[in-house]
Symmetry: C2
Subunit: 294 residues, 2 copies
């Protein structure tokens, strides 16, 4: 019998392969050239954590893999757009992502801006796919995603992050939490709730799970920025500390940050109790999020 | 009795006021701050030509103003995003738009990138509005808009434009036309067809009208870049010629460009014959597009 962690890893790799293949197929229908190349490049690699949340959330609500796959692809296209724009010189100015040069380094800033823009359009186009379900389900997803990533969600969080960096007053833990809940939490929450949204089901347990998981994910990213190395994480480390940026680690300290992520994951796992055994992969994922080295 | 041109101008100003008020109301629901301020700023001014096309297209297909208004807002939010990103230093590097400093000049590049991103999300969120019609109609709009503005539409055209500028071989008239059909034509075509999309009606006449109108609009923009002044146009002029950029005017010459836009508008007007008297505003608009000074 497989270990639980093997099961999780196998399932995550399966989802990643499915999503990368489906995204590649979608790109094949676009005009060939630099723009599509950059979009394809931006979607490769990474753990496809959000896609995994979509597929597991769907399974918990009786939604088939075939119905959930376009949603998983949409979420990853959207996430890829946010990374491409976040890495731009005018934003975080990162040159390394998933172990490879960022899009504006590989091509140009203009290409990175446009590839990000087109990935966002593609995400919404994918959510109109009839395979997902009836028109009402697709519209609920589109409205929820647009809200999660727009000026009251992810992009709002990115703006708070930039304002905090430019400010002379470092944010406190409440400020960092508010920023991260929007910046990374909103899309993770959408992913975890997407199966319930399709099924038109109650989502309270998954909502709490997603909120705690998203925050724990960010706390662990901040820990890896201090304790990780570039080869393993695939991105520059020590960047936040170098820039004097306020993070969960800089404000709480390393030990308290580790305690905080553990506490968050315990709450995330507890919130899954209504789902019973079926939520095993999501429980494993929660533990993985704070054990991961990249 | 009003002159036709008075009727057109009055109707365009009415639509502009309605759309700006509705966009302002949508922004009021977003978190206050720099991001929302920049989004609001980006949506003000201009002729709201695309919104006008939406409202007229709706009227021709028996769709109410109340149903069409969120679509008109979505199109203008989308258009505003494209202008904000197009004006960025890494793209066209423009400092003046609609007579005011561009968003990255007024705030920062990061704010302009994020405001554009959030305006795109807002456009799709607005298309989920129940006021528009049944779920099927809304999904058809979302799919059509996403396709029109993504990597096979507007953004593809922007990429072709950048590639042409970087290339040592100047594009010929076919190349310029192909680029502009995507860059500005796709969103204009969506706007002109949106009423038919909502009604689930045939759109052949409006499709031809929109294609010709969009191209004539761009030819006239190229003419104004040579013959206009900054005060009247509200943007920098002589910029394309200064940059040695291939335009309809640089390739065809001014007289032939004027003949070309006239020919396009004649065809646009002719394509409206199935709609009879009801299409009077669209006929007037077509003539306005090549008479305008800004």
């Amino acid at each position: 019998m497989l270990q639980q962690s093997d099961t999780l890893q196998a399932r995550m790799e399966e989802v990643k392969a499915q999503v990368e293949a489906a995204l590649d197929a979608a790109m094949s229908e676009l005009p060939e050239g630099e723009l599509t190349d950059a979009m394809r490049y931006a979607c490769l690699g990474g753990k496809k954590l959000r896609a995994f949340l979509v597929m597991e959330s769907a399974r918990l609500h009786g939604v088939t893999d075939a119905a959930a796959l376009p949603v998983a692809c949409a979420v990853e296209a959207l996430h890829a757009y946010s990374l491409v724009h976040d890495d731009l010189p005018a934003m975080d100015d990162d040159d390394l992502r998933r172990g490879l040069p960022t899009v504006h380094v590989q091509w140009s800033e203009a290409t990175a801006i446009l590839a990000g823009d087109a990935l966002q359009s593609l995400a919404f186009e994918m959510l109109t796919d009839e395979a997902i379900g009836d028109a009402g389900a697709r519209l609920r997803l589109i409205a929820a995603l647009a809200h999660a990533v727009g000026a009251a969600g992810m992009v709002y969080g990115q703006m708070l992050d930039i304002i905090a960096e430019e400010s002379e007053i470092a944010p406190d833990i409440a400020g960092i939490t508010r920023m991260q809940v929007a910046k990374t939490g909103a899309l993770i929450a959408f992913s975890a709730m997407s199966g319930a949204i399709i099924a038109g089901a109650e989502t309270e347990g998954l909502r709490i799970y997603a909120a705690k998981l998203g925050l724990a994910f960010q706390v662990h990213d901040d820990i890896l920025d201090v304790t990780g190395d570039e080869e393993t994480t695939g991105k520059r480390v020590g960047k936040d500390a170098g820039a004097g940026k306020a993070t969960f680690v800089s404000v709480l300290g390393l030990d308290a940050a580790r305690a905080r992520e553990k506490e968050l994951i315990d709450k995330a796992v507890a919130s899954l109790s209504p789902y019973g055994e079926e939520a095993g992969n999501l429980r494993d994922l929660a533990r993985f999020v704070i054990d991961r080295q990249s």
